[in-house]
Symmetry: C2
Subunit: 194 residues, 2 copies
């Protein structure tokens, strides 16, 4: 197998959910049938790496220093929803049931990987939530063990500062990740937050 | 969602077997956790598109005008194995049971897509097989309706030129239990018993 084909398969295999066989199938497909697509994907990857940074206020993906959600005066400035990832934020946005602001953590705590609450941006969250405008922080981390632990630590830190923290109602299945939950359930859980 | 993120998800979604959700998960993963991996994938794509061409003798992927298999004097020059794709060639190589040469078609006939035998490289195959050295052409196209039709046309064209064509044996896979093998395969294995 040519070196550059082997290197391409190896690079594709690093994508989440892609094994050796799928990576080979993708590489063969691109080279045999879609070289324009391969070039477009390369361009899109470089443009994304070059242009996409984290919003300075909420840490979601943004091409501007402040993202369009944070910069939108029509959003409810008194509510802040804490999520684990930009894709969890996207799921909440798609429900259409929330019009406040967001704070995106850098994942969830994972003691085995040495990821504690500090690495997730707890200090930045406390500064953000203490701006005097925020009245409620909705902690929408997942209902996995790590997500619950993360929520617990965040709620305690907010309580110490006298900021009200709520959690999505348990309409979300236990062990469920937001990304895989249907939108209606998420909308209900948002309405029933406590 | 930022434009360049949307463009990246769209480009990833063009990969075979990747839907909208997987594409989003891949894009988020790369931007959040593996920007080096994103850059490596972009580089690998561009290098592959730039360096990989088709071998002038067998049409498989190669960085040289003639691939390393065709250029290998230790291979049996009298046998030519016709496959549908470079990945089928890779599968045959991994068996270690074949030491002849290859000819890689550009897929298989697909009347609905307007892909006939001419588009697959039949003329080039006839020139290649008529070099006076080849004694046997093993037609290893798949055992689908399209693969069988392709094999039939190739075998007829070879017969006209007095070149011997063979086909892989059909039968029960090694380790296969009759209960789980389709009836057509069993019927063939019964007819081809030896
Ligand atoms: Zn923002
Ligand atoms: Zn070759």
């Amino acid at each position: 197998m040519p070196d550059s084909l082997e290197a391409l398969i190896e690079a594709l295999r690093q994508l989440p959910g892609v094994g050796a066989k799928s990576a080979a199938r993708m590489a063969y497909h691109l080279l045999q049938h879609d070289r324009d697509g391969a070039q477009r994907l390369a361009d899109a990857l470089m443009a994304a790496v070059r242009n996409i940074r984290h919003c300075e206020r909420c840490h979601t993906f943004s091409e501007q220093p402040i993202c369009s959600t944070c910069a939108d005066p029509a959003r409810d400035q008194t509510r802040l929803c804490v999520v684990e990832t930009p894709s969890d934020q996207a799921v909440l946005e798609r429900t259409g049931a929330y019009d406040g602001l967001y704070f995106v953590l850098q994942g969830r705590i994972s003691p085995l990987d040495g990821v504690g609450i500090a690495e997730l941006g707890l200090a930045e969250l406390m500064v953000r939530a203490s701006d005097g405008v925020i009245e409620e922080v909705i902690v929408a981390t997942s209902f996995t063990a790590e997500g619950e632990a993360t929520a617990h630590i965040i709620s305690q830190a907010l309580a110490k500062r006298g900021i009200r923290a709520t959690r999505l109602a348990r309409g979300v299945p236990i062990g469920g990740e937001l990304e895989y939950v249907d939108l209606g359930t998420i909308a209900h859980a948002l309405a029933d937050r406590h």
